[in-house]
């Protein structure tokens, strides 16, 4: 933990373009994700507007903001659950505007969900194998006729699934039904399933929601470990500021669908606009009212 912290402090953020920053080790590589002027309207309501972001190849990025700021909407835009009204998303330099959710995943973005979405009636192992779905090489008839390929590929998938479960030491739970797992294990399984799709960018939507401080600390270690192990970029939405300030290298703050600040954890912590968004404006009149009420 302490070692990781040192490493994190050593990371310097450098600007690569006028409005974007990435960790210095990623500066010479093209960013994995670029968003330019991204926006979406639901009827007359603008949920996200003029969202610009760049994420480095091995960056851990944070997306924070008060409730209803549009954070999950940004994830849904990136994974094409919603089609953006405006703007472009470049994944590894390639335009994703024509892709569907399922194609986005194959192109390299995997995600978890705020309210856990597992395949509850299937076993833990099958859940991971579904993550491996596009890496298993036999079709319907191979399965129905049980061709030699089926046995080979299934054995391979079983081994890969077990290896992935080992990251979170869940290999003993492989046979259990996913829906019967305790809450924390379900969250971890969702991350394993997302990792199984072999992404280059992993989106985590409130991974620490409902976890106690020691579980959160373990999760922080695991997120950094996953990044180091798979050499992927991770972007996370989180309300736990210890987690965000502890492991994120670049942070983007969203309020009412607008980016209000971007920078390193230290910059964000001392940014008056961010503090205002979270805590409200210092207002003498309000204070007075509070006093008279009391």
């Amino acid at each position: 933990m302490s070692e990781l912290k040192k490493k994190r402090v050593a990371t310097k953020m450098v600007p690569v373009q006028s409005r974007a920053i990435v960790p210095d080790r990623d500066a010479d590589k093209s960013p994995i994700l670029e968003c330019h002027h991204l926006g979406i309207d639901f009827g007359g309501l603008t949920a996200v507007n003029d969202f610009n972001l760049m994420i480095g190849r091995s960056e851990i990025a944070g997306l924070i903001g008060p409730n209803g700021a549009g954070k999950t909407t940004v994830f849904n835009l990136l994974t094409k659950v919603y089609q953006p009204t405006r703007g472009t998303i470049l994944l590894d330099g390639a335009d994703t505007s024509k892709m569907s959710t399922e194609q986005i995943n194959r192109a390299g973005i995997a995600r978890t969900f705020q309210n856990i979405r597992l395949f509850n009636n299937l076993s833990v192992e099958d859940n991971v194998k579904l993550g491996l779905h596009n890496h298993i090489g036999y079709g319907m008839w191979g399965g129905v006729l049980r061709l030699p390929r089926y046995w080979k590929e299934e054995k391979h998938a079983h081994e890969s699934a077990m290896e992935l479960l080992k990251i979170f030491e869940m290999q003993d739970l492989a046979k259990a039904k996913a829906g019967s797992l305790p809450y924390g294990a379900q969250r971890r399984l969702e991350i394993v399933r997302a990792l199984a799709t072999n992404p280059s960018l992993l989106l985590l939507d409130e991974p620490a929601a409902g976890m106690n401080p020691s579980e959160t600390a373990e999760l922080m270690d695991n997120i950094v470990r996953i990044r180091d192990l798979f050499q992927i970029a991770i972007m996370l939405i989180e309300h736990d500021m210890n987690l965000v300030m502890g492991i994120c290298e670049g942070i983007c703050v969203l309020n009412f669908g607008q980016v209000i600040a971007k920078g390193t954890p230290d910059e964000i912590k001392s940014n008056p606009v961010v503090i205002e968004a979270y805590l409200g404006k210092k207002d003498k009149k309000k204070k007075k009212e509070a006093k008279t009420d009391g």
Partner: protein, 349 residues
């Protein structure tokens, strides 16, 4: 570890295979020994057909999680196309069995094509649209076969939706005669083929479910959004399950029709669709063994209840209600759960 996993996944399917095989051997030897009532003997092939209908619908409803209310429509397509094939081949292929197999295959093929066409628009949508469209589809198919005239002569195949416009050679009768359906069918269906069809369908379903494609289909049932997020093409796998299900229903229809001397479109109406759905729900969603038992029992039951004469359907309804009550009775549930746990514990030690 791997071995144990495989045996666990397949244990249930092997149990189902074993029960079907044992039931076949017992019934066949009873029939051979002449110890079977003629009523039951006449029901053997329909039972097979309904069992296949039930397990195929269970693939759509239980495994894929989409409601289909027009499964009899696919049965109808299979029945008419299968019988047409059998009649057309009457003078070409001498062997009854070969003709029967050809009829089953053609029935399955046509039903699969129709299932594909129905699926193209509907399976792209989410929600209850499949139920609505299949409901309409069943009625449309019934209407089409009620107005379809089809005949075969030296000039080839003639098809018409109007009476008397087939222009067949003199003395040649049409195969499908509109509302009269198909008459004078040679009853070439037999119990052994019905049993073989059940086994083939079971093997296809179990192997599909325990493979990559089956996992994807069940993932769509459990959580469509999550399935999409891990890169599973939803429409493709929905279509795969639905078309497979339709093809099996087509084969069942062909088998069913070749057991009777006449077949009319009105036989495959909404009531038949609901009847098959009752088999599936009563046997348990996703539970093939349950579907088989429910289909067999509920096909025999109305005939066995003939002694109640006018009260037959009343008693039938009461039996259905009782079964549902008993299945959901908490005392009985805990009892069976205990039994299961006891068996597991015994297996471990």
């Amino acid at each position: 570890m791997n071995k144990l996993n495989l045996s666990k996944a397949s244990r249930r399917s092997f149990m189902t295979y074993a029960v079907v095989i044992i039931a076949f051997i017992v019934l066949q030897s009873l029939a051979a020994a002449g110890a079977m009532s003629s009523m039951l003997k006449g029901l053997l092939v329909p039972i097979c057909a309904y069992v296949v209908m039930a397990i195929s619908l269970n693939l759509t409803v239980g495994i894929l999680g989409e409601l289909s209310l027009g499964h009899a429509g696919f049965m109808s397509v299979g029945a008419f196309m299968g019988v047409t094939t059998a009649v057309s081949l009457q003078n070409v292929v001498a062997s009854k069995e070969l003709r029967l197999i050809a009829a089953l295959l053609v029935g399955a093929l046509f039903a699969a094509v129709v299932g594909f066409l129905v699926g193209i628009p509907v399976l792209r949508l989410n929600g209850d649209y499949l139920a609505i469209v299949t409901l309409a589809f069943g009625e449309i198919i019934k209407s089409i076969f009620n107005n379809l005239y089809l005949g075969l002569d030296s000039h080839g195949l003639h098809v018409s939706l109007l009476n008397n416009t087939l222009n067949l050679d003199e003395g040649v009768k049409p195969i499908i005669g509109g509302p009269m359906g198909i008459g004078g069918i040679q009853k070439i269906a037999n119990f052994a083929t019905g049993f073989a069809l059940i086994m083939v369908c079971l093997i296809i379903i179990f192997n599909l479910v325990n493979s990559r494609a089956g996992r994807a289909i069940m993932a769509i049932r459990d959580n469509r959004i999550a399935a999409e997020s891990v890169g599973i093409p939803i429409t493709k796998y929905k279509m795969m399950a639905f078309v497979t299900s339709a093809a099996m229903a087509g084969a069942a229809g062909a088998l069913f029709a070749l057991n009777f001397s006449t077949i009319v479109a009105n036989k495959f109406d909404f009531n038949t669709s609901i009847l098959v759905l009752v088999f599936v729900v009563l046997g348990g969603l996703g539970n093939m063994m349950g579907s088989i038992v429910a289909a067999a029992a509920l096909t025999v039951l109305p005939e066995a209840l003939r002694q109640f004469a006018d009260f037959r359907m009343l008693v039938y309804a009461i039996v259905l209600i009782l079964v549902m009550l008993i299945r959901n009775n908490p005392t009985i549930r805990t009892f069976t759960a205990q039994l299961r746990r006891g068996r597991k514990g015994g297996a471990k030690s």
